[in-house]
Symmetry: C2
Subunit: 448 residues, 2 copies
């Protein structure tokens, strides 16, 4: 399957007020670490598309050069087509791609200025499989659209498209700019071109009239047409919010994620890789343990702040990875291993620091049981996923890593290492016992 | 799908030399914790068969009573059919089952005196799905058969059966007694009965002649026809050997499994459940830790022996579960949680015992790092399975639980707790580092 990406536009409204030197052509405008065009390409790659035809127009040389520099790293086949009449209408750009496709080849048509949740395209491809001979256009409900005035509206009747256009008065859906096309689109474009109509939506209206168009409801997932600085900001915020996970713990949800999102929004524009961020977070944990070792209250406070900071930064690696389509199982694996070492070393630091100042064996014993419990929380999670092949859920005593590191910070602030260890020892091990019994209940329920 | 199980025979050769009171009817003869008949039933249940017709004959009341007592616990539908002419030939027993089946129903035919690897039946059912209208008989190569003289031989030509019978001279395969039947078998049995032939193999010869029989090669997996005390012993040994896992560590393979198999062979005949065995092993580990706490060499020796004994018994729970078809994901989950606690508590006992006698903080620090490393070995395994959905393999530094507990015993015997902790600390953490890098290599290789 090939994807045709329209990247010929200027993006005038986006670069308003900037000199030509400062203003980038629309496809190269950055959004959370990737340019709009690169984001469209990688989103399609996520759905298993490795062959691309990119239609360039405005400042085409710059755009081609930019993509060619990335092409090897991405491992994709990319053809470029120039549309010198890019100012006339986007329908012409689609027509220009015709010669780069096989005669009877279906393809996906994307706009570089439309960002979208990549799962939409995956499902569109699945859906279109059973609609042989039909073009399928992704649609959303009007209330989900940021700039409704500028959107291409659609009138659906009994789920079948009836009319399309920016100006139609009567509508109940909006075109998301993600389009599964059969070659029929080219005939429609040619016919409209003959009438002096150069917009894609003119051709789509033509497809509607000869019953060659179906729609696919994206079910409220994220997409956005980027035309103005406001819509760029809107998309950015939506995408940052989507980084919150339903499995986030309490502290993660209320504190860590709110801060890490902001940090991620900045570092995503640098060259920092997720692995480097993982390592930074690990080093902060080691530094925290070093301060704990010193034992005195003032050092404990610094260590506590570092522990909580490390916990926050620990969220950024995954966030950057997801925004830049760099998530890997291996990254998640290494992250979890380093987290466990960090947990162990911080607790060891706290125990040793306390013992140096106060002596006594009780901190060692209680600390060891706290360490055992902390580990068992992570281990039961990992084992649960290994055995039952799905994440372990989020109920029970909230004593996962976000909470444990937060408690370590509070304990350090209050200079109450022994009390902290006791609390950790009790809560973690209690939660492990609860898990063992609650999992038994789940299994008994679901079994034959 | 229904299964018809023939359980009408006497098993004369098996009860040779025993009085009638002591000799059980063949279906009730025990083999590693289950009677032959129960084993046949549960093996079929493993393949998703929940409806049974059991043909009884010799001492039928005893057999029926035995099964009825188990029926509820097994959650199965079981009909009984009596064949009073059981001495005539097993073909008659099959005919008796006819009225308990739907008119056009395919079914599986099993002999209660044939034990087999339950995966064979699973695959037979899959295979037969694509052979509509054909009976399918499981066959093995003659060299795999324990008592070839007594076996039912088959001559295959180009993988098609040509002749069947105990007495045929020319053969290249053997009937395993696992048989997917269409109702055609009843017509064949009726026809043969008219000629005064009452053996199942006569009817199968008839199926061959009208091209209604195919064969399924079981690919060398285990099965055995139990007719004599020797074949019973052979099957027992084969099944015990099958308990060894390819993922077993060195100590497990060379020492633990050899002993645990023998223990399992005995306790499988008691009412001890796998969970109870898990708990016994855990209590032995706690007792070991208690002796370690006392610190002196003589107590260390006792603790060391208990640690290694606990490691051996830890193998028995899974072995008993597999022999009795009682394996559950939950059982494996709880076992792994208790193992981790046992590991932690034993190391804690060793540290504390040593410190009480010798003082000093080094044993605490080194011990904690050893604990951290031990955990990380188990954690990387669990995470690997969670992330990559397959077991983590068996290469690298052999420092899994079997080796760690063996090292603890040796360390305790030599009264070298500090050296032991140092060795554990180094080897476990080194292996974790190796795993992190080797997994990266595997991923890079297999990825697109």
């Amino acid at each position: 399957m090939k994807a045709v990406i329209l990247a010929a536009g200027k993006g005038e409204r986006l670069s308003k007020g900037k000199s030509k030197l400062n203003a980038k052509p629309k496809p190269l405008i950055p959004l959370l670490g990737l340019s709009l065009l690169e984001r469209a390409i990688v989103s399609a790659k996520e759905s298993g598309i490795y062959d691309f035809v990119i239609v360039v127009g405005y400042r085409s040389e710059e755009v081609v050069k930019y993509v060619e520099e990335k092409q090897n790293r991405l491992g994709l086949n990319i053809d470029f087509v120039e549309n010198e009449e890019w100012e006339k209408g986007n329908g012409l750009s689609v027509l220009k791609a015709r010669d780069s496709l096989q005669e009877k080849e279906d393809f996906v048509l994307l706009m570089c200025d439309h960002v979208f949740d990549s799962s939409i395209l995956k499902e569109l491809l699945e859906y279109a499989k059973n609609r042989i001979g039909k073009c399928v256009l992704c649609v959303d409900e009007p209330e989900n659209v940021f700039d409704l005035e500028d959107a291409t509206k659609i009138l659906l009747e009994r789920n079948k498209p009836n009319a399309i256009g920016k100006g139609i008065k009567n509508y109940n859906a909006v075109d998301c700019g993600i389009f599964y096309c059969t070659p029929a689109i080219f005939n429609a474009l040619e016919a409209e071109k003959g009438k002096g109509k150069y917009e894609l939506s003119d051709a789509v209206q033509c497809l509607i009239e000869c019953d060659k168009l179906e729609v696919f409801d994206i079910g409220g997932r994220f997409w956005c047409d980027i035309d103005t600085p406001e819509s760029l900001e809107y998309a950015k915020n939506k995408m940052l919010t989507s980084l919150e996970k339903p499995t986030d713990g309490i502290i993660s949800k209320c504190i860590n994620r709110k801060i890490s999102k902001r940090i991620t929004a900045r570092i995503v524009n640098t060259n920092l890789t997720p692995t480097q961020i993982t390592i930074i977070s690990f080093i902060m944990a080691l530094a925290s343990a070093a301060f704990f070792l010193l034992g005195e209250h003032k050092y404990l406070i610094i260590g506590g702040i570092l522990a909580q900071a490390s916990s926050i930064i620990d969220g950024c690696d995954g966030e950057v990875a997801r925004l830049k389509f760099l998530t890997t199982d291996y990254g998640a694996f290494v992250d979890s291993i380093l987290d466990r070492y960090a947990d162990g070393i911080m607790i060891l630091g706290l125990i040793f620091g306390y013992w140096m100042l106060h002596g006594g064996i009780s901190v060692w014993i209680i600390g060891l049981v706290a360490l055992l419990g902390s580990f068992m929380i992570s281990y039961t999670n990992a084992r649960y996923e290994g055995v039952f092949e799905k994440p372990g859920g989020n109920r029970g005593i909230p004593i996962r890593r976000d909470m444990r590191l937060f408690m370590i910070m509070i304990g350090a602030f209050l200079n109450q290492v022994l009390g902290l260890m006791l609390l950790l020892a009790i809560l973690t091990n209690l939660e492990v016992v609860r898990r063992v019994f609650s999992i038994k209940r789940i299994i008994t329920k679901t079994k034959f």
